[in-house]
Subunit: 193 residues, 2 copies
């Protein structure tokens, strides 16, 4: 049931079987169908999702109704609105499944208790969030210092499995472009190669 989660956990912080048993009662599996929300704009985020199959996306909707994708979460990734979870304020994000998916849910209360109870859980959390921070900083840097084309190339190189599974207009949104522009970028790239 939870093999994938613990496999990931053990790669970062090795656990004894007993420790796994401590964690297990706090976990919960859930299936999401394509387009089903995990978190909806306006609600308070009360849990994090670890994706074991399928893919989720996190996005905001701007004033003119356009979806801006902030993050994809495929197998092995976690997603949540930490800001909302920490402050208790309503989230500005939506998180939904873009494929039929299976996730492991760890709610806020479980996280707090596990962090307190099991030092390895805190260590795992710290290392996880540090990695997420580093990735985000790199992404922001790319946004500010690379051309659109370089950003697209970097994306498909870095996340080939996502690039192949996700509709192109979502990649455009993730890169901060309109679908039309990405389409043109691509045709320019193919013309040159």
């Amino acid at each position: 049931m939870y093999e994938q989660y613990f496999q990931h956990f053990n790669k970062i912080v090795p656990l004894t079987p007993e420790e796994e048993e401590v964690i297990k009662p706090y976990l919960r599996v859930k299936k999401l169908r394509k387009k089903q929300y995990f978190l909806q704009d306006g609600d308070v985020c009360k849990a994090a999702a670890f994706v074991t199959s399928g893919m989720l996306r996190q996005y905001v909707v701007d004033e003119s109704g356009h979806e801006k994708i902030i993050q994809f979460a495929a197998e092995g990734w976690s997603v949540a609105d930490l800001y909302s979870m920490l402050t208790g304020e309503p989230s500005i994000y939506n998180i939904d499944a873009i494929e039929d998916s299976e996730i492991i849910i760890i709610d806020k209360h479980a996280q707090d208790e596990l962090t307190q109870k099991l030092r390895k859980f805190e260590t795992y959390s710290r290392i996880q969030i540090t990695g997420a921070y580093v990735a985000l900083q790199r992404r922001l840097t790319a946004m500010n210092s690379l051309t659109v084309e370089e950003r697209y190339e970097e994306f498909i190189k870095r996340y080939p499995q996502i690039a192949q599974r996700v509709p192109q207009h979502m990649i455009a949104s993730y890169l901060g472009l309109t679908p039309e522009t990405l389409s043109r970028i691509r045709s320019r790239m193919f013309a040159r190669s």
Copy 2:
């Protein structure tokens, strides 16, 4: 000497005087003059800086030689290239002082040892990095979903003390604009109010 650092630490995780004594030997004060580097592009980042006075900035230089500011760090903030620090790879960032500054340096080795030795240090680190992650995600969201003008307004509202102390062209760089564009945005804003 280290009051400011511990004051900040205690607000997040209260320490006993004995615990403070454990940490102290790992800390080091350093003064930086305006324009002095803390980290230079191509070097490996071996320490984090906690700013006690003055201000630092973190930036990349793009192919055409333009500086793109990724982050400001005023009093009470920390700055480092975590990616370089974790992987040991050369940094793509520069970090330098934009005012005469005083920082507390905690090098990688100190961080590793303190994290191991003192659980509260690990907790502090986790909470700190989580806050930084949340701030960065909000910033990325703003970049993708707000107009230039809204981003500028949000910036001066959120960081009034930085907005007042820093030259305008650096704010432009932080917001992903040219100085000319920011100047025009401002005159449009003042014209309307």
